[in-house]
């Protein structure tokens, strides 16, 4: 019985592979050619750790909650339909704030930094994905195709930054309201930050500067610690920041070339 199952699996796979792949593969159609996009745009984010820490310190003092979600995280959750579950072990979180402290006894100051998908130039998750459900766009954004993901979680193992969450439950169970502009995931697939790809595409089509939800919220309600932009454009704000600051990439030794840059660590 099993060998028949296997036989069907193999012949079915061969047939499907030969006939169906070119027709149903979810391909992104660009108005511009991928080479053009690659030459023109590469999205990245810069984080001012000093401002981020200031905002978090104020917020924690005000609310008395050491695990308070700052505006950027709240906005991200709301914008991208990131569900809220009681159990931290299985609660998906695209953006989270981490306490950073040097491991020394002399009165260490606590800094706060946001953690999110680094949209690496050489993303390990894309490297290991069985089905190419994780893929990198020509403009550098790393995305997950929910319809292709088989939920093997190999990418979560491979990601050096813990950026990915698995949907142990149907995300709708953990949502109060749904943003219809962002696709809904289902139980059993992996998800992560997309740099608000829907906003990016919309803005690019209109010829505007894209602003992800977290960056918008940070400007409006926070200290403006986050800057998003095109690192290939020498005039962009992010390019200016990269030029004028010492920036740090997380786990740069791995050669993944992350595109979230941290500046002003230690508040120079």
């Amino acid at each position: 019985m099993m060998s028949r199952r296997k036989f069907l699996l193999l012949t079915g796979a061969a047939a499907a592979g030969a006939f169906l792949t070119p027709q149903i593969s979810a391909r992104t159609h660009f108005v511009e050619s991928p080479e053009d996009v690659k030459a023109k745009r590469r999205w990245g984010m810069a984080v001012d750790v000093e401002k981020c820490t200031e905002c978090m310190e104020e917020l924690i003092a005000k609310t008395g909650n050491p695990e308070v979600k700052p505006p950027c995280v709240v906005a991200c959750d709301k914008e991208n339909n990131v569900p809220e579950f009681e159990d931290k072990r299985i609660d998906p979180q695209w953006m989270r704030i981490a306490k950073m402290v040097i491991d020394k006894p002399v009165n260490p100051r606590e800094f706060y930094i946001p953690l999110l998908c680094n949209h690496c130039e050489h993303p390990p998750c894309v490297q290991v994905c069985l089905t190419m459900a994780s893929f990198k766009r020509p403009d550098g954004i790393v995305e997950v195709d929910m319809h292709r993901c088989i939920g093997c979680r190999y990418c979560m193992i491979a990601c050096p930054y813990g950026a990915r969450s698995f949907n142990f439950h149907d995300p709708r169970e953990g949502l109060k309201e749904v943003n219809p502009n962002v696709q809904m995931r289902t139980e059993g697939v992996v998800e992560k930050c997309t740099f608000c790809v829907h906003r990016v595409d919309e803005a690019v089509a209109k010829g505007e500067e894209p602003v992800p939800a977290c960056v918008e919220a940070c400007k409006k309600f926070g200290k403006g610690a986050l800057v998003f932009g095109n690192v290939k454009d020498p005039e962009s704000e992010i390019s200016k920041i990269l030029r004028e600051n010492i920036v740090v990439q997380l786990r740069a030794n791995l050669g993944t070339d992350p595109h979230v840059f941290y500046t002003k660590l230690g508040g120079e």
């Binding site: 296997k6 699996l9 193999l10 796979a13 499907a16 592979g17 169906l20 792949t21 593969s25 050491p66 695990e67 308070v68 979600k69 995280v73 931290k88 072990r89 299985i90 609660d91 998906p92 979180q93 989270r96 704030i97 981490a98 306490k99 950073m100 402290v101 040097i102 491991d103 953690l115 490297q127 290991v128 069985l130 089905t131 190419m132 459900a133 319809h147 292709r148 993901c149 088989i150 939920g151 093997c152 190999y154 979560m156 193992i157 491979a158 990601c159 050096p160 930054y161 813990g162 990915r164 698995f166 142990f168 139980e187 059993g188 697939v189 740090v248 997380l250 786990r251 791995l254 941290y262």
Partner: protein
Amino acid sequence: MAVEFKKIEGDSIQYFALIIVLAAVTALGFYAYILEHKYALSGLSNRVPWGIVNAGIPYFIGLSAGSLIVSALSGVFNIKKYKVFSRIAAYMAAAWIIAAILSIALDIGKLYHFMNAVRYFNPTSIFSWNAFLYSSYFVICSIYLLVQFEDMERATRFMACLAVFWAVLVHSGTGAIYSFIYAKELYHSALTPPMFIVCAITSGLGLLLATLYYTFRFTNRELDPQLIRGLALIFAGLMMVLGYFLAVEGLEKGYIPALHEAVHFVFLTPNSGVFWSFWLLVIFGIVIPTLIILYPKTGYDPRLVSMAGIMHAALVFAERFYLIVPGQVFPEEYLHGYKIESLHTLEGYLVSYTPTITEWLQVIGLIAMVYLLFAVGVKIFALIPERAAEEVEE
């Protein structure tokens, strides 16, 4: 033909009782899968997304590859006396690979996207290569078994060589799934693929010794203790090689100051399952079984040898746990020199992972399924010889 293979009768009450028990345990395993995915009952988390059902994949593939390498001993090296085991071992190899593929199916989150793993191929993904290797390996196992049934001498030898080559490929690939992950220092090691091969042969051989002994006993067939002794010595020798590999790897990791804390946690912190998985493997999975076989008073007793085989094969599962879990449980340093603790997730913290009963039932269910296939197989195919002796008449 010098070796006569014969089907078993399989009409005793005990036989049917065995079939029913195995079928029930298998069904329970699949039921546990349904429950687990419906109510999220696993002990997994976003920090530890791979648990024991995933560990089942390399474990079953190891048993399969090991079994096949033993089976092909007679074919590749032309050792006539081991020919008696060639069919049963090849059959077990095919059964274990089914368990391995089912283990993948049970582990993934979206079962109805499973075919995507076959439809789409990512050349940079080792798991993607393995999806191809596993299915082709099953086909090779089946053909190898078929040419044996047909007594095609030359084809059998050719298929034996191909099968061994493929088994090494498949199992090295499985090791590479884990060990090529450079994001986790405790995973990253070039030693894992060769260690997987050694471990495959030892666990496959250990379980095969026990399976052979009990099958021959319950079917009242003759099994020459000398034959068991020969295999047992190979088994003991390779267990020592496995111990050597583990020692080299552990010492190398322990030498790196950046990993001191992690190594201390893995090897010297008795309140975690990781510690126990490693030390139980070393003591009950390697040292004691090796001593049983090498000590002359116990090493010739096929009952004790099978016990050593079962002990080792069971604890190789602990080895898989030791391979997969610590790298996830122990937090990675995002910015070297700084301690980073997330406010909203468990990043930066030591996360515990305790397999739940539903996870255990899935693994046990798959093992029961393999033995169900075996019990049915020996009845419908001529897998085991009438008698197995050291000398083979030409």
